[in-house]
Amino acid sequence: MFTNLKRVFNFALVDFFRNKGISIAAIFVLTTTILLITGLFFMHGVSNFLISTIQNKIDITAYFKADVPEQDILNAKDEILKISSEVKNVEYISKEDALYDFTQKHGDDPTISGALQEVGGNPFLPSLNIIMASGASGYEKVATILQGDQFIDLIEKVDFSQKKVTIEKIFSISATINKFGLILAVILFLVAIVVVFNTIKLAINGSREEITTMRIVGASSWFIKSPFIIQGAMFGFVSFIICFFVTFILAFLVSSSVEIIMPGFNLFKYFTSNIFIIILIQLGFGVAMGVVSSFIVVNKYLKV
């Protein structure tokens, strides 16, 4: 058994180096497709980052009545956090903070400063800024509760109705991007499978007669199949090594440029923090495709 195992490994290794042209072609195609799939993984990361960046900019604000004590607002904040696990963040902005923010923003504008002086005192209301983790429906749900009986004595108004259209549009665009990305990924993944399968098929096609001869001289199925399957795994493994280093180098080199376009997104950090998933995708896809394609093709030619 061990002798035979050694033999089939040896056959695979010898053929791998002897049929250099075929090996290089198969590795080239596998490398290209693995890079494509790795690209899809990075695209997924980028689109997730963009979507969450945009979604984090969406909030609704509940303005409290001017005479509501701060402790009551903080209690309301705790209550809101309890409404749903989808409430991502609630930030309290006091009257003073609101005025400070406003003057910071518009202090240079004499018209606005003049208007503020004319009003006299602090015209701003204390408020709670609420950010949800879920879609537009989550905001609607929280807005409805805030406008209901429970908070009627505390809350002056909730600005959901003004922002409703924008919120719905942003979440609808995010969902479309996600759906389109998934469809594109599935199509490209299927194309990658077909391309790799046909390349392996072409690589083994040249050995078709050889397989028949092996069968005629009484070789068992596994004795014929194994070297081709091992070779398929070798194609996948070598492609993985190439892809991993190419991805590593590209992520390192491109990272700073990407961060200029998308501040806050570090491509190299994304690579290192997802290194095990990337290894799994590249190695898994490469070796699995090599092995499965070889198995199917040789099996087809073995029917003698």
Binding site: T3, N4, R7, D15, R18, N19, S207, E209, E210, T212, T213, M214, R215, I216, V217, G218, A219, S220, S221, F223, V304
Partner: protein, 226 residues
């Protein structure tokens, strides 16, 4: 050793290749199967190896039904047969040495035995100095001798040669046939399929003549008469 029992082979669209063929080849015999191209010789040879199966009737090898054999038994039967073909059927990606060694490796022979036996057989066959060459680097005659070496190395009970001289010049034809005669003299059964009149008449051995899928003649010391 080999028995055809009322074998008929019909391909799609009712093309009858063999019709009610019955004969028996005994151990140690040298049998030539002759006939024009398309007479059914190759189909008959392929049936012995289990590469084709009869539509009706049965083929036996060593008492075992080839037509009903599963892949394990077929494998066993094929290992008892050394086959030689017109197009050599060598393994192009393997060297001369590896082509012969492969047959022993298939049988699970030990490396030590392979290392002794393969060079010995290649020396006998006259390819001792070409062990590291690839089949494409050999002449037609050398390739056919290599395929005979491959057929012989596992000491099979039967050698089946399907038009082995079809691609060879007269000198190499003579060499190959002499080798087959020697193999037969050593006690092995030889089944030779050919349409070479001269070879058959020179051999003076049993001749089975096929015409349009039917055996028209089976003579102990036959001649090529069509």
């Amino acid at each position: 050793m080999i028995k055809f029992q009322n074998v008929t082979k019909i391909y799609q669209e009712n093309i009858i290749v063999l019709q009610d063929v019955s004969f028996e080849i005994k151990e140690g015999e040298f049998v030539s199967i002759v006939g024009k191209s398309g007479a059914g010789k190759t189909t008959l040879i392929r049936m012995i190896l289990g590469l084709e199966f009869p539509t009706y009737g049965e083929v036996f090898f060593d008492g075992e039904s080839v037509s009903k054999a599963n892949s394990k038994i077929l494998q066993k039967i094929r290992r008892k047969i050394g086959s030689v073909y017109q197009d050599y059927r060598l393994l192009p990606a393997k060297t001369v040495y590896e082509n012969v060694a492969y047959i022993m490796e298939v049988e699970g022979k030990e490396n030590e035995e392979i290392e002794v036996e393969v060079p010995r057989v290649l020396e006998i066959i006259g390819l001792g100095d070409k062990m590291n060459n690839f089949p494409r680097e050999l002449s037609g005659g050398e390739q056919q001798r290599l395929s005979i070496a491959r057929a012989l190395v596992n000491h099979p009970a039967v050698i089946i040669a399907d038009e082995p001289t079809g691609n060879l010049d007269p000198y190499n034809t003579y060499e190959v046939i002499s080798l087959l005669e020697k193999i037969n003299k050593s006690g092995k059964t030889v089944v030779l399929s050919t349409h070479n009149r001269e070879i058959v008449n020179k051999l003076g051995k049993r001749v089975i003549t096929i015409e349009n899928g039917i055996i028209i003649r089976d003579e102990e010391r036959g001649r090529f008469i069509i």
